[in-house]
Symmetry: C2
Subunit: 309 residues, 2 copies
Amino acid sequence: MIQKLISKIQKTGAPIVVGLDPMMNYIPEHIQKKAFGEYGETLEGAAEAIWQYNKEIVDAVYDLIPAVKPQVAMYEQFGIEGMKAFKKTVDYCKSKDLVVIGDVKRGDIGSTSAAYAVGHLGHVTVGSKKYAPFDEDFATVNPYLGSDGIKPFLEVCKEEKKGLFILVKTSNPSSGEFQDRLIDGRPLYELVGEQVARWGEECMGEKYSYIGAVVGATYPEMGKTLRKIMPKSFILVPGYGAQGGKGADLVHFFNEDGLGAIVNSSRGIIAAYKQEKYAKYGEEHFAEASRAAVEDMVADIAGALKQAK
Amino acid sequence: MIQKLISKIQKTGAPIVVGLDPMMNYIPEHIQKKAFGEYGETLEGAAEAIWQYNKEIVDAVYDLIPAVKPQVAMYEQFGIEGMKAFKKTVDYCKSKDLVVIGDVKRGDIGSTSAAYAVGHLGHVTVGSKKYAPFDEDFATVNPYLGSDGIKPFLEVCKEEKKGLFILVKTSNPSSGEFQDRLIDGRPLYELVGEQVARWGEECMGEKYSYIGAVVGATYPEMGKTLRKIMPKSFILVPGYGAQGGKGADLVHFFNEDGLGAIVNSSRGIIAAYKQEKYAKYGEEHFAEASRAAVEDMVADIAGALKQAK
């Protein structure tokens, strides 16, 4: 799957991923109205609104981008109905040949991690049959529990040719509370980064491992260091746009081959129509605003990478 | 909810929680056969088998225990159908007046953590209506992202009178990989424990906070230290039984009032019928074996606590 991700990045010229994190207040009124008209103000109605919103955005941008990243929490908050919308979104994006990164941040140990791994990336056995319940291509994973938590995911990834992005240095203001604490003079996130590189070695594609890392755009200097610590790991970079990260901040996350990073934007793309810059599209044409925002993001990053050369 | 947990612990004399982590190979053949007969070897069939298995165990033990802890991964691995069995299990346990600890180990930031919090512990808004999608009483949470990840959960807990158990020192062999690393001469888990105590201060019940911690039974010495660092936090203690923790290891997790800890056993209870000790019950009467295992566990812990006095 890392090969597919790379080849799609090269084909589109867009090392970006669109975060499908549908907050209810992003969803245009006409979509909510229609969904609630059909299903009432119910969890089912909310799930329908999310699904229709996602579908229109995906239809508008799928040819420009290699990948999407649905944030499962935004679906899970609507219970079973929300999870159905998550699954429908994953399936639809795959039918559009997009790489799907399940932003699930799961993490447990042993057989429990294995259960998450088969549920999201692999196949679960029922009697003599096998099923792929959620079937994302990549999943995000939390490293706090150490190797016991990661190894069951690695096994499934090897078998299924899928991949991971492991949290190393997250984009939020308080990420330093634990991640930056010094251990023998070096921050915890560097140690986690070293482990990611080690775990990744046994999971190599051609040039890159299919075990990647999450490092926030909001910490470009740390990104620079981590880029060197994990030379063969793809870095999933959240925090661009709405969280404050700029194109120029991103150059250090890439390797000299122009690869090695994929930059996420969620709100900045899916709720672009709410920004003054894209207001001209109007709420009705929100998906066109998303397309324009993708084009601008691609140009911003390409410009920054070009200037850095 | 912490008051309910405490009063139920006092009433039952059992500071224990039964982990409802139904692996397919724990489920007796007659239950699998019936479920597959009705629904085929499908995800629906697996979910039905899990639900019937859980129900029979809960019916056999609910009067002996204060709480259950369903591990969501074991349900999530069967996709939407599995999540339905999770929800059914949560609802059924609540109808039996059990405190339900959702072992979900979620953790993200800002609005995403808020989404997990409302989905599992609170109410989500749909238009003018509100729904409680999964509605557990407590949830387990991962601290790696720092306060930005925890605070949205605290807000929901305050509003709903629910609670958390935050991972501090996990029971697995490799938990030390990051959690034991020294920061200014002290292990990371102590720093996380201090934060748990701080977060807990703003969420006090009568004597205990409703913000607790997870500390593995497999590390009793560390439990002793953490007990002192977080005097007002309940400690959820996994790792008893199958993972190697013994009653005598547990005394340090309790305060002098005999409270402050709740010990989990999953496999040791729900698959007790597979142990030689309980083999006499036979697979058909697996739930009676679970009841006997609960009684033995309660006696083991009570004996150890008495001896320690």
